[in-house]
Every structure is written in structure tokens, then in C-alpha cells.
């Protein structure tokens, strides 16, 4: 089992999926000869050839639409959009076609495509290279949204996404691409979709989030442990469909919840989780639900970025506020 970064784990999963299933095609801007803007498709062209690794023109809407057409014919296209800010151009195709093909055809056709894109801040890039735009997609029934939080989870979840019979928006946190290495077993084992992962158990407060911020949640949990507080860390992993049951079960024990995401606060996906807690979870709550998120601002440049993104200190402070109740 070799150590891999997230970007290497993505590459491994793509190669594995292409090897095991000839229907899997990789397409996007510079994914072939250049191996992708972040090198997530490095080596695939040499190994699988230009018939299966397709450099496309710079046209995001067409890349998404082409993928829908391929998927409708039974292929399993995995399209790369270079940055999340460029993925907004695909919303028309993803919303109006990819996510609705199964419903419109009453199940006669499906759309087993994956749209991969880096997301999130912390890489000192401006605006559309640092966006956390998941909430623009979470209100689209029929579209699955998956976010890994580590190399190992990236490998397993991407394989699951490619094998899934429906369209998946797969969001890869840019700042995790090369932030760490961990052992990744390239044995073709997928991780389950539509399930939260409990990364650390604890009975005092639940920290709930996804993607890169999970690292800050884990660090916050460690810090809280030193203060004698046992925090449970829940990696949501699949935003839609949401595994609310796991979150409700955890908060059923802790009675306290801190939701963390990089995206802006208002109508961020944390609001949906908070609504679940205010509904079926209401009688479990011992404290108001806390949300630690980006502010309602445009993702700023590096020198202000650290003030926008959820920090360990902000997560710890929110947990402490929560613990002061009851």
C-alpha cells in the first residue's frame, strides 16, 4: 500500500475505473497531454490512449452536455472542469439534462456521468479558483454531490461515483490535493455513497462538515479533547442525498452540533442540516445549532482569505458556546 496525496489518489481511482470498465472515458480541458491542470489525470493518455482520454476545447457547457449524451448511450464519462468557478457554466446542462434524464425517460435512460472539479479556498487564488459553490447544485433533485476529505476517501468515493448509475458532481478540495499523504490501497474498493463517515467518536458535541474543513474539525476535536470535551467528527461526504439519520443519531447523543463549511452562511448547505436538526432533531437539542462558515462575501484574495475561511479557533469557540448551554 503506497502513500498518496489526494491528487494522486484521484489519478489512481481514474486509472482503476478505466482499467476495469471500457465504458469509462475521461474528458476535459488539458486532461490528456497535460495530465490535467492539477495533474489529476497524469499518465492516463499514455496508458489508455486518445480514444478514451479526450482533450476538449475550452467550452464548459459543451463538456457537460457532451457527457450527458455519452452517458445516455451507456458510456461512463468522467469530465473535469478546471475550477469550481468555471463549473457554474455547466449548471444548465447538469440541472436541465443530467439530473433529469432518469425522471424524464421514466427510467429508460440514465446519466451515469461524473463531473469532477476542484473546489474551495486556501490555495491563495482569487474568486472562481477558490469557490465553494456546492449549494448552487444541492437544490437539484437527481444530482448526487460527493466531497472527499482525504486521499483514501477520495480514492474510494471517486470509484463509487464512477460506478454509480446516476450523475455525480464530485468536488475535490483543492487545498487537500497535496496537503498530506496517507496509505491508499489501489485495490478497486469503493467507499459507500450516501453515508456520513464518523471520523472520530465523542459524546459531548458533534462537529459536522465536509471536504477540506474536516481537517480543521479534526484539529478542533483534538484541542477540545485537551479541554476534556469529547467531540464527534462527522464527515458528511455525500451532501445529496443527505444521510440525515447519522447526523440525527449523533446529535441524539450529544445534543449539540457545530456545522462547518467554507461556503457562505446564507442558504449554504449547512442550513439544510440545521433544518433537519430543527425538525426531527429538535427534541434532542440542548443548545442552539452553531454554524461556522465563510461569511456572506465574495471569496477574497489571499491576504483576507484567512479571515473568511473557518478556522480551528472559530470551530473550537463555537463548540464552547454550544457547551455553555444546559
Amino acid at each position: 500500500m503506497a502513500d498518496a496525496t489526494l491528487v494522486e489518489a484521484i489519478d489512481l481511482a481514474l486509472a482503476r475505473a478505466m482499467q476495469e470498465d471500457a465504458r469509462v472515458l475521461v474528458l476535459g480541458e488539458d486532461v490528456g497531454r497535460d495530465g490535467g491542470v492539477f495533474r489529476a489525470t497524469d499518465g492516463l493518455l499514455a496508458r489508455f490512449g486518445p480514444g478514451r482520454v479526450l482533450d476538449t476545447p475550452l467550452a464548459e457547457g459543451a463538456i457537460a452536455g457532451l457527457s450527458v449524451g455519452l452517458a445516455a448511450q451507456g458510456f461512463r464519462p468522467v469530465a473535469e472542469i478546471q475550477f469550481m468557478g468555471f463549473a457554474y457554466a455547466t449548471i444548465d446542462q447538469m440541472l436541465n439534462h443530467a439530473a433529469r434524464l432518469r425522471t424524464r425517460t421514466r427510467g429508460r435512460l440514465s446519466c451515469p456521468m461524473v463531473l469532477r472539479t476542484p473546489c474551495g479556498g486556501g490555495v491563495h487564488a482569487p474568486e472562481h479558483h477558490s469557490e465553494s459553490g456546492e449549494a448552487c447544485f444541492t437544490n437539484i433533485p437527481g444530482l448526487r454531490i460527493v466531497v472527499p476529505s482525504s486521499p483514501r476517501r477520495g480514492y474510494g468515493l471517486l470509484l463509487a461515483a464512477i460506478r454509480d448509475p446516476d450523475p455525480v458532481l464530485f468536488l475535490e478540495p483543492t487545498r487537500l490535493y497535496r496537503a498530506m499523504r496517507e496509505p491508499v490501497s489501489d485495490d478497486g474498493t469503493a467507499l459507500p455513497l450516501d453515508q456520513c463517515a464518523i471520523l472520530r467518536e465523542g459524546g459531548d458535541v458533534a462537529l459536522v462538515g465536509w471536504g477540506a474543513v474536516v481537517r480543521e474539525m479534526l484539529a478542533a476535536a483534538q484541542q477540545l479533547a485537551e479541554e476534556g470535551v469529547a467531540a464527534e467528527v462527522i464527515d458528511v461526504a455525500t451532501l445529496v442525498p443527505l444521510d440525515a439519520a447519522s447526523i440525527l443519531a449523533s446529535v441524539g447523543t450529544t445534543g449539540r452540533c457545530v456545522i462547518c463549511h467554507e461556503a457562505p452562511l446564507t442558504a449554504g448547505f449547512g442550513a439544510e442540516i440545521a433544518a433537519q436538526l430543527a425538525g426531527p432533531g429538535l427534541l434532542s437539542l440542548l443548545a442552539p445549532v452553531e454554524r461556522v462558515t465563510g461569511w456572506d462575501v465574495v471569496m477574497p484574495l489571499p491576504r483576507l482569505e484567512r479571515h473568511d475561511m473557518p478556522s480551528v479557533a472559530r470551530i473550537v469557540a463555537a463548540a464552547r458556546r454550544s457547551l455553555r448551554h444546559g
Binding site: D34, P57, L58, A125, P126
Partner: protein
């Protein structure tokens, strides 16, 4: 709305707007072109250095090699004409007369930058200079450019809008949507494809089935010409013709300006898609600034005069770099400014 606009009278073409048979540059124009191109070159070299020193966050797309395009275009424009472009935009800003120090300070994310350190390399604007950005979504500014041109047409003035985009962007759907609209409405829009041969790592012949980008507006009847973008005089001549066409109310015009970027797409480009020899050949045989220098020498401009320009440019760039490092960082409270006007 279009009906209302139809009744408005368009301004008269300017006296100097007609494309003369001989639109070659005068000695003074050559001096200006040389100085403006050199300023962009030296500015970009300095930006590359500052990036290497870790002083510039985010992305940084250098214009080195392409200077003749914006300088030749800008010299054909007049007061009030608009310019809009994509993210390889430092040269365009300098060409429109925006201050080097404000641009450089924006690159370093400082309060003294054109966007107060919140826009960065790709997002700067100057209302005073009619520079409408600096845009990061490839090709998306082309529709905006059509809108700027529409406003000129609607107001009945004789201004033109120059919209720049690259060969990569030329394949985006909304570029063609904008072409159709601009031709349908006869908008005073000059569309400039800066064809530097590569959209990131994909060469133009691998990205488009069109073998002649200057003909990309042909289905809508838009005139277009291909221009040697390494020759500022050729660019200027083509620009004058395009401007005259637009000012005369004849509708949009397409220029495919064939150019070349010496540096990578951005600062993190491994450059595996072309050879060093290819770059070297362009630099040594077609460089626009070297070409201008030779021309000036032939016109009898002395070494001392050229050195004076070099020194002036060097001083501007150094001052900009100093300012970009000494200007304070934006206050954290800036994070919440200019999002919405509170009701």
C-alpha cells in the same frame, strides 16, 4: 427598447476616423509604441520576479510577447472608447493609461491596488480609463463587450468597444452568441482574438476545427482580418480600419491578431506542450519590441534617446514595485465592503 433606440441618431464619424491609405506610424507614434510596449514588458518581468518571491498570491498570467497587440489597438482608439478583456490583462490596463503602481499593488493584494487588494491579477477596473476588466471566466467577457457596444449604439455616440479574448475562448458558445447579436444589431464592437497559439496547453489546431479564426464571424456577415500581432504597425493599421468601420455605423468587426506568449499560461505552467526552440525562434526573429527598436534606429532615433525611454520605463516599474510592497494590506474589515448597498 430597440425600437426606441432605432430613432436615436448616431453621432457623426470623427474626422480622423477614416482609415487612410497610408496609416503607417510616424516617428512620434513609433516612439510612443516602443515606450508603451517596453513598459508592459518590464512591468511583466517585474511581476514575474515578485511572484517568484512569493509576494503575489493567486494566479498571474503574463503578457510578455504579446505587447504589440494592445499597444497597436489602443493607439487607434480615442477618448471614451471602451476596453474589456480576460485575465491576461496587465498589458491592457497599462495601455489604457492605468497607473503601473495601482496595477502592481493589486497583484500583491495591497490596499493601494485598483481593487483595494480584493481583485488581484484578474480583476481590475478603471471607470476613468474606460477599462471594464479583467475577467476570469474564459470567453464570458465577450458578451459583456457586446453590451458595452450596445450602450454606445443606444446612446447614439460614436464610441467603439474593443473586446479582447484568446484563441481558447474563441470556442466558447457565448462568443458566437455575441457575434450573432452584435451583427444583428450592428453594434460598434471590435472583437479581437489574441491568437497566441495555445489555450493553456492545447494548441489552437487541436482545439478548433476552424482553420481561419478571422472568418469566425462570417456566418453573420461580420468582416474579419488576420493580422501579424508581432508587428505593432500592422496591428495599428488593422485597428484603424476596424475603428473606422465601427464608427461609421457599419456594425462589428473581427480581428484575429496572431501573437505569441513567451511565458507559460500562468506561473505554474510546466510548458510541456511546446519546445524551447519554438519559443526561442519567436523571441529572436519576431519580437515586437526588438522590431520597434530597429525601426526607430532606422528613423534616426539616437541610442541616447532610446536609453532615456528605457530609463524612464525602468523607473516607473521600480516605483510600482516599491509601492506594491509598501502599500498596506487591506484591513480585515474590507472583507465585508462592496457586497451590496444596505437598504
Amino acid at each position: 427598447m430597440a425600437q426606441a433606440a432605432d430613432t436615436k441618431k448616431r453621432g457623426k464619424p470623427r474626422a480622423n476616423a477614416s482609415a487612410g491609405a497610408n496609416s503607417g506610424l510616424t516617428r512620434d507614434e513609433w516612439l510612443k509604441a516602443y515606450r508603451d510596449m517596453l513598459l508592459i514588458r518590464r512591468f511583466e518581468e517585474k511581476a514575474g520576479q515578485l511572484y517568484g518571491m512569493g509576494l503575489i498570491g493567486g494566479f498571474c498570467h503574463l503578457y510578455i510577447g504579446q505587447e504589440a497587440v494592445v499597444v497597436g489597438m489602443q493607439m487607434a482608439l480615442g477618448e471614451g472608447d471602451e476596453v474589456i478583456t480576460s485575465y491576461r490583462d496587465h498589458g491592457h490596463m497599462l495601455a489604457t493609461g492605468m497607473e503601473a503602481r495601482g496595477v502592481m499593488a493589486e497583484l500583491t493584494g495591497r490596499a493601494g491596488g485598483y481593487s483595494h487588494g480584493k481583485g488581484g491579477s484578474m480583476h481590475m477596473f478603471s471607470k476613468e480609463k474606460n477599462f471594464f476588466g479583467g475577467h476570469g471566466i474564459v470567453g464570458a467577457q465577450v458578451s459583456l463587450g457586446a453590451g458595452l457596444a450596445f450602450s454606445n449604439w443606444y446612446r447614439g455616440n460614436d464610441r467603439v468597444c474593443v473586446t479582447y479574448f484568446g484563441d481558447g475562448a474563441a470556442n466558447q458558445g457565448q462568443v458566437f452568441e455575441s457575434f450573432n447579436l452584435a451583427n444583428l444589431m450592428k453594434l460598434p464592437a471590435i472583437f479581437v482574438i489574441e491568437n497566441n497559439k495555445y489555450g493553456m496547453g492545447t494548441s489552437v489546431d487541436r482545439a478548433t476545427a476552424s482553420r481561419d479564426l478571422s472568418r469566425n464571424g462570417a456566418p453573420w456577415g461580420m468582416p474579419g482580418v488576420a493580422v501579424d500581432g508581432m508587428d505593432v504597425e500592422a496591428v495599428h493599421e488593422a485597428a484603424r480600419a476596424a475603428v473606422a468601420h465601427c464608427r461609421a455605423g457599419k456594425g462589428p468587426y473581427l480581428l484575429e491578431i496572431k501573437t505569441y506568449r513567451y511565458r507559460g499560461h500562468s506561473m505554474s505552467d510546466p510548458g510541456k506542450y511546446r519546445t524551447r526552440e519554438e519559443i526561442q525562434k519567436m523571441r529572436s526573429e519576431h519580437d515586437c519590441i526588438e522590431g520597434a527598436r530597429h525601426r526607430l534606429e532606422a528613423l534616426g532615433v539616437s541610442e541616447a534617446e532610446l536609453k532615456k525611454i528605457d530609463d524612464e520605463v525602468k523607473a516607473i516599474v521600480q516605483e510600482a514595485a516599491d509601492f506594491a510592497q509598501s502599500s498596506p494590506e487591506p484591513d480585515p474589515s474590507e472583507l465585508w465592503t462592496d457586497i451590496l448597498v444596505e437598504g
